[in-house]
């Protein structure tokens, strides 16, 4: 679905950001794109959606070259950017104005998600809070039923109940033909949601594995002491330590934050 081979990219008059980046993503997954600030997450999302143009390399999204921004591709790609603009119209008007461009737009799903997010269709978009606007945009993105949904920091600005609701709605609104890429540095917000992790650092992919693969290789445990034999990575937390250890008899939930810190500190899990 997304095939990136030997991608090179640099902003004008700036250092090279991506120097030979390669990534492959298939449908039916929710992929978490993780990385520190400035790692290149948003730039990669913009390259995937055709908002930026690579210097060289191959980039294929749904079989299209995103640089061309062909209608058939745009019909099937929706980006929820971190910062966005809404015209001063009602939610209903926005849906009337934008939904006809998406052939698979599901009005019933839109209504259902609006109710779940407690958004009134008659409300004016410019009068909503940032979090409410974001919830509306996420609702619209899901209702388009695009095969590729790209969410850039979707939980920024959402309150705690809304974050939980976001996870629930996202998980319940997708089908196996869709791919969701979530870029975030708030890894706790997407835990139990994503099934593949890609980590970027300095414009390079430093880690790319599914949650199932990670679970087969390592476990995440809490101990009162850091002195555990074979521990791959240890981090002090209130009341003790969190450890990443080679997989033993019991399979644990993946602690993405600990995994992220371990990988960015140069640890390997095979």
């Amino acid at each position: 679905m997304i095939q990136i081979n030997d991608l090179h990219f640099a902003y004008p008059r700036q250092q090279v950001l991506f120097d030979g980046l390669s990534v492959k993503l298939e449908t039916g997954s929710i992929t978490g794109l993780l990385g520190k600030n400035g790692a290149g997450k948003t730039s990669l999302l913009k390259l995937i959606t055709g908002l930026l143009h690579s210097t060289s390399g191959n980039l294929s999204v749904l079989g299209y070259n995103p640089k061309k921004r062909e209608v058939a591709m745009l019909n099937d790609v929706f980006l929820v950017p971190e910062e966005f603009y809404f015209p001063p119209i009602s939610i209903n008007d926005y849906i009337r104005a934008y939904s006809p461009f998406y052939p698979r737009f599901d009005g019933e799903m839109m209504d259902r998600i609006l109710i779940e997010f407690k958004l009134c269709a008659k409300g004016y978009l410019h009068k909503l809070s940032h979090g409410q606007k974001k919830k509306f945009l996420i609702a619209f993105a899901l209702a388009t039923r695009c095969r590729l949904l790209v969410l850039d920091e979707p939980t920024n600005g959402l309150d705690i109940p809304s974050k939980a609701l976001f996870r629930k709605i996202l998980a319940g609104s997708l089908d196996e033909n869709q791919l969701v890429i979530i870029s975030t540095h708030q890894v706790k917000d997407v835990e139990n949601l994503i099934d593949k992790i890609i980590m970027l650092d300095n414009g390079r992919v430093i880690f790319q594995q599914t949650i199932a693969e990670i679970s087969q290789k390592v476990s995440f445990i809490s101990e009162t002491s850091a002195d555990v034999e074979g521990a791959i990575y240890t981090e002090a937390v209130p009341g003790g330590y969190r450890l990443m250890v080679p997989q033993g008899d019991t399979e644990t939930a993946v602690d993405i934050e600990l995994l992220f810190n371990a990988i960015t500190n140069g640890k390997k899990i095979g």
């Binding site: 908002l51 921004r69 745009l74 950017p81 966005f84 008007d93």
Partner: protein, 264 residues
Amino acid sequence: MQTNQLFSFQRLMLLGKQSFIINKKLIGISLAGFAGVLFMLLLLFLSKSNFSNWGNKEYMITFTFLFFTLGVIYSSLSFPAFRSKEKSITYLLLPATASEKFAFEILTRIVVFLLLMPLLYWVVANLAGAIVNYYVPRFTTYQFSFTQAFSAMADQGMFKGWGKLLFAQGVLFVFIASFAGASHFSKSPLLKTMFTISLIVAGYALFTYLLVKGLNLQAYHPANDRIVFVDSKNDAIAFFAILSTLINLCLLAVAWFCLKEKEA
């Protein structure tokens, strides 16, 4: 939904519908505001001329001034999405081809203005004239007619042969230059466009001056048959008509590529 990758009238209509839903209030307020202000302005001008010395020529001068001033400002507001990064993202990812988005901008920013503004002016001018004539019967030249104004211009030979094309392209240049500037410059497009055009004109004038002075061309008087073309006023009009057409096409091409290659 058609999946034509080049141009679909259905998607063009969708762009129109979308724009209308988003801007309907603004369009209504702008049209009413323009008509109201124009009406008051014309009443003021009529009163200043003591309701007697105001005829078709004066109406036409006012029209020409407003037509170009408002037209340049309005076409410099083309591609409004390019004024901010957030709007650009939404606009560029909207499922319509660059040709459709480009055609929509040309239609709404140039074609609609060229058709609607004279019509609105004609209605308001005749309304203002009729009202004044009702209260001030000595004001007899209250009817405004474009036909009469253009006939007067035609009588002066402005629309002979290539003159028509030169006139049309000259008018279009003002709008197209402003339109192309709006596609290229994100911030203050009108100022930057005017500055760029001034620089080009000044550069050309300086180059010509240096050429004439440096090569002493003012002393060069070739026989007419040695000049390849442009040896009469008609040829000059034809030359400038073709040149202005080419310039306008180039400016449209610039705007098109700016839209097509735009990044966010």
